[in-house]
Amino acid sequence: MRRRVAVGAAALLALAGCGDDAAVSDRGGGGRPELVVSAAASMKEALTACSKDYDGASLRLQFAGSDELAAQIRQGVPVDVFAAANTALPDALAREGKLDQPAAFASNQLVLAVPADGAKVSSLDDLEQPGVTLVIGAAGVPVGDYTRKVLDRLGARTSKAVLANVRSNEPDVNGVVGKLSQGAADAGFVYASDVEASGGRLKAIALPARLDPTATYAAGVVTASRQPDAAEAFVDDLLAGSCHEALLAAGFGEP
């Protein structure tokens, strides 16, 4: 028992540590159930917009890298819905009995993003050039894993040359966008929706279909949720409701 308390305290401290990018919004709201939704950082704009008009519950959204959110759920942080930027993390949580049957609700395209003005990189081929600086997601973070998978499909030699130009492995997609828009790097791999949300500061270079750059997003109800019905209703809204529409408007695709 004492050990469990200690672990809980450690998890709380760890949570406090990610306060930088975990945003919490929309508290309260007369009589409706309050749902805590842990969502991948890339959905911040879209879900923040649709949560204001969502009727079924008052939503407390927290955004971070999907892997960190999954780790929090494993550590017992009370969350009702987990919406991840891939299918692997929800599937893994489901196998561990921490998440009810997850469902795919949207997709996103991995793109090569460059600063809108004075970009040094204009195609995938430029990434191998010595002196080009690249910022990507860390391994274990969905955007970082997708990036490495896509690079793998370029072949071992090219992939190695590109990875040699990486100067930072960011803990979530916001870090990549931030470094690019501050001019700290020449290019990075982010989602199409991130370029859309950057307000013209970034430019997207689409990746060829043979690299299979589509990321599928999946969500599920956390098994320990005290409001499984309200949580289920919100997952349905992600699948085909106002939040689904908001995601499409923000540059996401159908799953």
Binding site: R3, A9, D20, S168, G175, K179, A184
Partner: protein, 269 residues
């Protein structure tokens, strides 16, 4: 006042201390007991963990060296001269002390980020800050310097002015008075300030991530490595945390051993 009432008050004090002690030590103890010691030590053998420790050591040493070289004379001036705007200057140099790390990161990006004039000038001069170890040193120096400056100003202010006057009347030039009289007399306070700056620099997280990024062996210090492993390898995150706890405790203890139990408090007066 009855004995009973006094007994109650003593009990309240004891309970408050017990609560504070449990709250502050339980999470730290948990770092060491959640996994067996063997697993923690094993996780430290990983290459990335050693790189992070080595980088933290180098960047912290560089930052503290810069802080000592520039901060000691600056603090001496602020402590020994009275001039208009002195209070404002002291407030300004202490400000980063209370800034949230994320604000420090944004501030550094806005001031010397790669998109700024200063940042570009530094890069042209061959000093690459963004996504480079030099950027980590800048971030650590920015957040840790006020801890040293504050202590050093207090330590120099506490030096008996007649000592400095005596040195001058005996014909010692000001620089010699500073080096041979002021510094040795203020040394305990300077050591305490160095320890606080060391601790703050070792623990820096937000400003480093935002300003310098995170790359193994280049910019990924121990706190960033802990965050990187938090999701994927909790045991490794615990192991690195344990090292930081041990180092921080060693810093605190060594200061107390050198100066007596009230060292940090005395330096801070």
């Amino acid at each position: 006042m009855s004995d009973l009432a006094r007994g109650w008050f003593a009990a309240v004090l004891a309970v408050a201390l017990a609560v504070a002690l449990a709250f502050l030590t339980l999470p730290i103890v948990a770092i060491f007991v959640q996994q067996p010691p063997g697993a923690l030590i094993g996780a430290l053998g990983e290459e990335g963990a050693l790189d992070a420790l080595w980088l933290s050591l180098r960047a912290t040493a560089a930052a503290v060296a810069l802080i000592l070289v520039v901060g000691t004379p600056a603090a001496y001036l602020l402590a020994t001269r009275r001039f208009r705007g002195r209070a404002a200057v002291i407030t300004l140099v202490e400000l980063p002390l209370v800034l949230p790390p994320a604000v420090a990161g944004i501030a550094l990006l806005a001031a010397v980020g790669p998109a700024t004039l200063l940042g570009r000038a530094a890069a042209d001069a061959g000093l690459q800050l963004a996504l480079a170890t030099a950027g980590v040193v800048v971030a650590l120096t920015f957040v840790a310097a006020p801890f040293y400056l504050r202590q050093a100003i207090a330590a120099f202010e506490a030096v008996d002015p007649t000592l400095l006057d005596a040195s001058r009347t005996l014909g010692a030039p000001p620089a010699r008075t500073f080096a041979r009289v002021a510094i040795p007399t203020a040394l305990p306070g300077l050591v305490a300030g160095t320890a606080l700056a060391l601790g703050r620099a070792l623990g820096e997280f937000g400003a480093t991530l935002m300003f310098a990024g995170s790359f193994q062996g280049v910019t990924q210090t121990v706190p960033l490595a802990i965050y990187d492993r938090f999701a994927t390898d909790f045991t490794a995150a615990l192991a690195l945390s344990a090292v930081l706890v041990a180092v921080s405790a060693a810093i605190l203890l060594s200061v107390k051993l050198v100066r007596g139990p009230d060292a940090l408090a005395r330096g801070a007066r």
